[in-house]
Amino acid sequence: MKAPPSFDFIRINKLNEFYENVDRYSSPLIISGGTVAVLMLKNRVIRPDVVIDISGIEELNVLKKDKEKNEVFIGSNIKLHELKSILPDDSASELILKAATTVGDIAIRSMGSVGGNVCLGDPGNDLPVALAAVGANAVVGSREGIRTVPVSECYVKPFKTVLKKGEILLGVSYKMLYGYRTSYNKFFINFLDHYVGIVAAIAKVEGISIKDMRMAVSGEAIGTTVKIDLAEFSKIDEINAIKDKLNKFVNERSMSDDRFGTVKFKKKVLLTLMFQAIDEVLKA
């Protein structure tokens, strides 16, 4: 049987209560939806002295739209299934929504929060890829104040993020983008229940010129969320050069043959997904 080890449990309703409490323990664990956190507890891979349920913090359960700054802030506690009805209809939000609706199944999306999806650091997580592609920032709070980190720079290695003890993700923010095409693709294998590759792309094309184009990838083949810089390309007829660059990117990644497949297979998957994404966002 799987059962968590013993711990204290506290439920927090205010952000400052969180800061007050978190320092009183040596190994606190934040849970929001709890899907993965509870699973890790049941597997006893973590043994926190306290589990802090933050799902009641209303300040983190908001979506803010700042018209002036053209910015959206999604609070950490928002559940994945809620995004559909609250996100604005710009292109960046569209890509984020595409990612969110492919997470797990309906139950996981009802339970799972945005914060949990961003903070876990599993290469199979969806939101980070879309967020990195649109250039979103993680808004991190602590007793000392608030800092922002680009989502693409949040991941150190699988299951390791830049968040420190005492810090909490307040939410993510990004600029709204209009008139872009978006693409979100992933390759899932039932055996070992994993995503070999995940690719998110977004581009603005006018006539034959590419005004803006961004891409991010993740999945077991890559290990963490990585942003790929495609700013140098300005014409859609450079598609072969773009693909060459992607080819080079994939070939230069260090990969190894492992349980998730051979290097040859992983590269094939990543390139297929990336080329598909490019074709989708650049097609007239």
């Binding site: 439920r11 509870v38 049941k42 309906i106 139950a107 009802s110």
Partner: protein, 155 residues
């Protein structure tokens, strides 16, 4: 710690360890055995319940997380001993074999009937993606839910 949960409209209160899983509270404290444990890791949906109307996997939640919310288990779907539309359809069409997945599919099916605009085959098939049935090959279950939705519309 003292935990009070509202399950199928009734309050259950008990002194349990903070680590108590929601599924264990439902089965062992409230004594409602219709919610099952199939995988313990969110893979199978045998433990599915509605939490404030949303389907959740009760093996991946602490009981403490569910305080103040309304929980509906498979037992709560059949009012006064009468099966609801989805359950009736699953039963009439003999969609299940061993029956261990009955809770998961009745909870999800009920949620689908109440929340989905389209209830065609493909939609139901993809909505059921988190519930495992090892016996049926799924088609009989999907058909039974599609059929229940159709009948519901007619009424």
């Amino acid at each position: 710690m003292r935990i009070r949960l509202n399950i199928n409209g009734k309050d259950y209160e008990s002194d349990v360890e903070p680590r108590t899983l929601l599924v264990d509270f439902i089965r062992d404290v409230a004594g409602l055995k219709g919610t099952h444990i199939g995988c313990e890791t969110g893979s199978c949906g045998a433990c599915m319940v509605l939490l404030d109307g949303k389907p959740v996997k009760s093996c991946l939640m602490l009981a403490a997380q569910a305080e103040g919310k309304k929980i509906v288990t498979v037992e709560g779907l059949s009012e006064g001993g009468k099966l609801n539309a989805v359950q009736k359809s699953l039963s009439q069409k003999k969609a299940l074999q061993c029956g261990f997945c009955a809770a998961g599919f009745s909870i999800m099916g009920t949620w689908i009937l109440e929340n989905e605009q389209d209830t065609d085959y493909e939609r139901v098939k993809s909505d059921l993606a988190g519930v495992v049935c090892r016996c049926s090959g799924y088609e009989p279950i999907i058909n039974a839910i599609v059929e229940a939705a159709k009948n519901e519309r007619k009424d």
